[in-house]
Subunit: 283 residues, 4 copies
């Protein structure tokens, strides 16, 4: 593929678009899609995502990146170029409930998840068969509060070994340490089974049922050291009524969780998400 | 009209439906719609709403109600019959933002709100013209924390004078005292401009914007002494993204608030809502 | 299980509910859920679905049904009792695209599809592995216009052999003959990949793209001899925009198809659907 | 205001974005928002909308436009600059049902419709009071098939007199002649009360009820000489079930119509819509 994505973040000032688009033009790159956003028109932050095509892209990549340095410096840019042909390596963490894992495997099988599912790590054996039947390595690492450090040590070794770019917590019910999280900043996506910030923490469906809400939801977000407080990527909801008990809400919720997590993962893989403070810009 | 609604709440046991439907049949009533719900199959609470038609209903009403007493006693029923021809009297409370009030007035004008809007009470003069132009009495009662008791005294007198059955808080930004609320149990409907229980309290759009949510919502609920904790009647949401600032969220939210409040008020007027503990059953 | 569902269809007249509920009470049946609907208040058709529990239900079933005959005659009822413990046998027909089949298999695996998936019939080999790996018989019957009669003969034999109650066309791209359809009246559910009656017939996504619609949809319906004209059970839609080409619409559409078909099949299995002329009443 | 929108349509080729953004930069314009789209990566059509701010914009406008001519010629651009400070003049056409008109008036009153509602034309007197009470001229022009030409003559005179930029058919139930439509190409927005292309033509709710659909919809589109076949701008739907008769569907539909039309009108006023063949690109 000769396609890549240019992600830029810098203080807003006139001339950024002109400079970048001229640079790409001078390198024979054709802009396929372009999005930009300024947080605050007056002296705010500027964000841009440009998808472009360029003949012999991989041959020129180094030149393209090095040549950009002066411009990047001039505009104080935080930037990167992501090459579509370089598939990201994903690790999926899962506990007992397999629905989110299954959705991802399914999307992957039908060619809609442009990534390499490198491995699945679980603190249960439940999902082994479905994972291994697809030729994906499955690692069973029992986990609990007491052995958290050792468990994460094992996990980190595997993540390093498989050169993992993105961790997806597909209903992984263990809390990660700050230390672990910091090693994968904005690269761990979690699905929380409520419409955040409602029902932060454990047992959201139970609490939703107790509260008598008329809609339940799910939220995918990047994981930070504050539980369920990381930048939200995507949310959705489903209707419930008085006939739906906790179990019924859970069933309805599972199908929301599946699609909300899959969408977030795809957007991440498409380099559509830029994190700014505790929010996401999704282009 | 010869139409009425029978609302029943009692401990579940076999034979309730048979007894009630036989009673109605013996009084020449034809059942038009019927809904029932049991909280818990084993020894739970039973709820029923029957809509029926009966020739000369208003003539027979007294007889119909008195004749039911033995059955009601036998099954330990909490019950009432609501006659469709007896329109409920509504008082609408509003502060500065008129969108929810406008929606209700509009529905009422086009004949979709089967009630008598008896009066509008506001702590601002903003809405006077649009209310009075429809021939509805408008009362301006300035309000703030310090004079709460006196204000509510004035309001209660008006509510009594107009024989009000239902109070609708259409973005009324004053907190009501427990004393006031108790006088209208399950008869005050509020619209809260968030997806409860997220963003309880003041400035939900501001906090939604700060949190970076991808959806905002509105919740209509009965008012209890716990702020924003009363039984939820209806909720809905709308999508937002990083381009929507607080002001943009507010705009999107207003149209959600309008429809969520109007739906709740109509369901109440149709006697579709039964409150059970801190939840609603909406038939 | 001691649970069953009573489905009734008869000319509306006073006393039906009283008679049926008394009958159930006399047989010690406790009504768990009850829904009714009258097409036209004046001399219209009456429909009822009662879910009830009764000790030793299967032992009493015969007696319960026979004893009801006089009442059924009196009210000219079209009725049946469906026993929850008697799982229905499903045959799934599928062509190349497996997404709807997969959704059904998945729901079935997680215990949410209360039925026996008796067999899968396909005019392609694509799905064999995933079906057989679950221990479900898979039959490959190549099909095309010319050999329709013979193909259907083979299919009918299999359906008879497995005592099939419900046929689900999970993206089966062959047209069925009138003769075949008549043998399974209101027992063949199809998923059409458009928001009917828009884009009846072939290639709906292609035509949706050509027309420039902003939403695409899916429709599940009972199959009749008029192509895509049978009674609609459920519909849903998804948003698209100018960036979505035909392929993109198809992807978005597939996830709508999956959920719309699964919902329709579950409602059928729960005996919630009554067909009246060319419409469905879904209780 | 110093804000304007640059709309461009031209054959795709490398360098367009670079050239335009450099041009704007050279004229001290700061790009606030930018969207682009290419129909077909290979030799397709390119579309761009740039929102920019520029000091003393109105003073420089002429210079800005003239200076752009060489570039426009080079890239064979179809282009225009729309100045936010130049409010568009709207004429609203309405028949008996006022709900869509009301929604627009309401949005306008609350400052959310950035336009000048120049006049309202109706073939009924129904809406006169609500329109005139807002100080907007109201013209009653009775209309029917036989006098179509004369009626349109009168209408065209008024449109000229008020210098109308956009005609909104807010449930105007008369068909316009090709001649009339051609005079306002892509400048007449209609609301059709169905999910197009379902139920083209008259009485869509009646036909939706007959067909037994489970969702009804509304579609806003530009008017062309083919009835209900013009480029679709926006669509939305609402759920209905067997309990909703034609009248019920109409009520549910009206609130969908209101919001779908208002959104389309706002997008047009924001110069977000580009028509390409028979489709819209909505930036």
């Amino acid at each position: 593929e000769n396609r890549a994505r240019f992600l830029i973040k810098c203080p807003d000032q006139p001339g950024i678009v002109a400079a970048v688009s001229k640079y790409l033009y001078d390198h024979e790159a054709n802009i396929v899609a372009s999005d930009q956003y300024t947080v605050d028109p007056e002296g705010g932050e500027f964000f841009m995502r440009i998808e472009f095509e360029c003949p012999d892209l991989l041959v020129r990549a180094e030149m393209l990146e090095e040549g950009f340095l002066p411009l990047a410096e001039k505009f104080q840019m935080n930037w990167k170029i992501m090459y579509v042909s370089e598939l990201k390596n994903i690790a999926i963490f899962v506990s007992k409930e397999p629905h989110c894992l299954l959705e991802l495997l399914w999307e992957w099988q039908s060619g809609d998840l442009m990534a390499n599912i490198a491995l699945v790590i679980s603190n249960h054996e439940t999902a082994r068969e479905m994972v291994e039947s697809l030729g994906i390595p499955f690692y069973y690492i029992p986990a609990n509060k007491e052995i958290r450090i050792q468990v994460e040590q094992q996990q980190k070794e595997l993540l390093g070994q498989y050169d993992v770019d993105l961790i997806v917590l597909a209903r992984y019910m263990q809390i990660l340490t700050n230390d672990f999280v910091k090693g994968y900043e904005n690269r761990i996506i979690n699905i929380h089974h409520s419409f955040l910030p409602a029902f932060i923490g454990a047992k959201p469906y139970e609490r939703a049922y107790q509260r008598g809400v008329k809609m339940i939801g799910a939220t995918s977000h990047y994981v930070t050291s504050d539980l369920d407080e990381g930048p939200i990527i995507e949310q959705n909801i489903g209707r419930v009524d008085h006939r739906d008990n906790e179990e019924g809400m859970k069933k309805i919720g599972q199908s929301i969780e599946r699609s909300v997590l899959a969408r977030a993962v795809k957007w991440h893989l498409d380099d559509r998400i830029i994190v700014h403070r505790n929010k996401t810009i999704v282009f």
